[in-house]
């Protein structure tokens, strides 16, 4: 099986709103795939269909070799979803959140799994604090850590960096790259072009219910007029300044 995700002719409407009008794409195993699109383009709808939270009106979707409609339990067994909003339990501590997910995935040693992930995500000092006291970046890290419990072959990250400060965003990027290096397939949605450029092996653009472009960054660049050679003085962006002041670059 070469592809983790295979989607053909996907249609989905919410009452009169026709969100997906025949979406086709494939995601190669072990790659990072970025789905780009503006707000309301239907990125989350695709994620929800692929993670069995929503049923398509027509078309086929296969995840890790299993059809999302006829084999939802097998699909769920092989994926992890990190939704658009950090789905962590605020009342529980970071550690308790991870132990809970490890128990629900029926792992042998939930406490050890939690401990390892807390260390890996730099949350060990905050492990026994209620997650409601975490910063946005920490919540997102915990959220992603919860999705890594059980080492799913495919992980969905729905706008993982929306609302994060630049520092936290770079941390999330690092995590995503590490995931792919370890062989996990990552399906990422984003509205930030730079994010797709930084991370993705393949980029697809969803516009008005269809995938209008799909390819590697190099392929996408070829589709458009060649780059003009101009000599300009490179001014640091505000982001460069911010990151160098706080000592992260």
């Amino acid at each position: 099986m070469k592809n983790s995700i295979q989607v053909k002719g996907l249609h989905k409407s919410y009452r009169e709103l026709h969100v997906l009008k025949g979406v086709d794409f494939e995601v190669e195993k072990g790659s990072i795939f970025a789905l780009l699109g503006s707000n309301g383009a239907g990125k989350t709808t695709i994620v929800k269909i692929l993670s069995t939270l929503l049923k398509q009106d027509s078309g086929e979707a296969t995840v890790n070799g299993f059809d999302v409609i006829s084999k939802p339990d097998n699909v769920r067994q092989s994926i992890s979803l990190t939704g658009q909003f950090a789905a962590v339990d605020d009342v529980l501590t970071g550690r308790e959140n991870l132990v809970m997910i490890a128990r629900l995935r029926h792992l042998d040693n939930p406490r050890q799994v939690a401990e390892d992930l807390l260390t890996r995500f730099g949350l060990i000092d905050a492990a026994d604090r209620k997650s409601s006291t975490y910063s946005g970046g920490m919540r997102r890290r915990l959220d992603i850590a919860m999705s890594l419990v059980g080492n799913s072959a495919l992980i969905f990250l729905d706008e993982p960096t929306t609302g994060l400060d630049p520092e936290a965003r770079i941390e999330v990027w690092k995590i995503v790259k590490e995931l792919a290096d370890n062989g996990t397939t990552v399906f990422l949605t984003t509205q930030y072009l730079e994010e797709a450029e930084q991370l993705a092996d393949r980029i697809a653009i969803l516009h008005e219910g269809k995938i209008i472009v799909n390819g590697t960054l190099a392929e996408l660049k070829k589709l458009f007029p060649p780059a003009k050679v101009e000599y300009i003085e490179k001014q640091p962006t505000l982001e460069d300044i911010f990151l160098s002041i706080i000592g992260k670059k």
Binding site: S51, T52, L53, L54, K55, D73, N74, R76, Q77, I79, S80, L81, G83, Q84, F85, A86, A87, V88, D89, D90, V91, L92, E96, M100, I101, R103, L104, R105, H106, M146
Partner: protein
């Protein structure tokens, strides 16, 4: 899939443990479901009790069944609230994308409501015993009382589930609790209905809480339960089935 069925009760146990932490870490919940009913019991017995003609020697004996129902009624707004927050925060989506039975998340909340009420009711009964409550009832009668209280809890929990699952805001989710808070007040829970004006009395005598209170009282004091127990059971079971049906419909439609 086979494995999901095998783990059903274990998964539900994890869900129960999680939301029990929500209960035990919320001072507000503990105050409303345990301390408030105890405070009301103290108030009614030691402040108002002397002036209330309940027809029994010890007013606490008369009052306890009503206080227990009130404690349960107080708890159900929190059921809606907890369900609503789970949906709004995306916790349910996370659970539903995992290989666990779809209904485990919802049943976790229902069980939490049952278990937390068992705990608060036990505490209230202990306080009542200290205040002089005594019952000649045997084990079987107590078991029957426990069964009726559990049924009442489940009935209200499923009503709360509809609100929690379909609400658009936190306020909407908890609003369901208010009319339910009033039911024990307009019943024979605190005073006999015979002194009430005709209209109020007709309502009080024919609403579910009165039949439940009367049944528990009869069971606790070895009096004949007569038809009341059947009326009480019919109310609870009928409302519970309807509420369960609607709650499940809303739950499935959320997908």
């Amino acid at each position: 899939m086979e494995t999901i069925k095998n783990y059903y009760f274990r998964d539900m146990g994890v869900m129960l443990g999680r939301s029990m932490r929500h209960v035990s870490r919320s001072m507000d919940t503990i105050i409303t479901v345990t301390i408030m009913p105890i405070a009301l019991m103290l108030l009614f017995v030691y402040v108002l009790g002397g002036a209330i003609q309940s027809g029994t020697d010890k007013y606490v004996n008369y009052l306890l069944p009503g206080i227990l129902l009130m404690a349960i009624a107080n708890s159900i707004g929190y059921v809606s609230f907890r369900l609503f927050t789970d949906i709004q925060r995306g916790i349910f989506e996370r659970f539903h994308s995992m290989p666990i039975a779809r209904s485990a998340a919802l049943w976790g909340h229902v069980l939490t409501s049952l278990v937390s009420n068992i705990i608060s009711i036990t505490v209230i009964i202990i306080v009542a015993l200290i205040m002089g409550f005594r019952s000649p009832a045997g084990v079987l009668s107590w078991l029957a009382v426990g069964g009726i209280l559990a049924l009442f809890t489940l009935t209200l929990t499923w009503i709360a589930a509809i609100a929690g699952l379909s609400a658009k805001s936190v306020d909407g989710a908890s609003a369901i609790a208010y009319p339910i808070h009033f039911l024990p007040l307009i019943s024979s829970a605190f005073v006999p209905t015979k002194t009430m004006p005709a209209g109020v009395r007709a309502f009080a005598e024919n609403q579910p809480v009165t039949s439940i209170v009367e049944t528990i009282r009869a069971l606790l004091f070895n009096q004949p339960v007569g038809n009341t127990i059947w009326v009480a059971l019919a109310w609870c079971i009928a409302i519970m089935i309807v509420a369960y049906f609607f709650a499940m419909r809303v739950y499935k439609r959320r997908k």
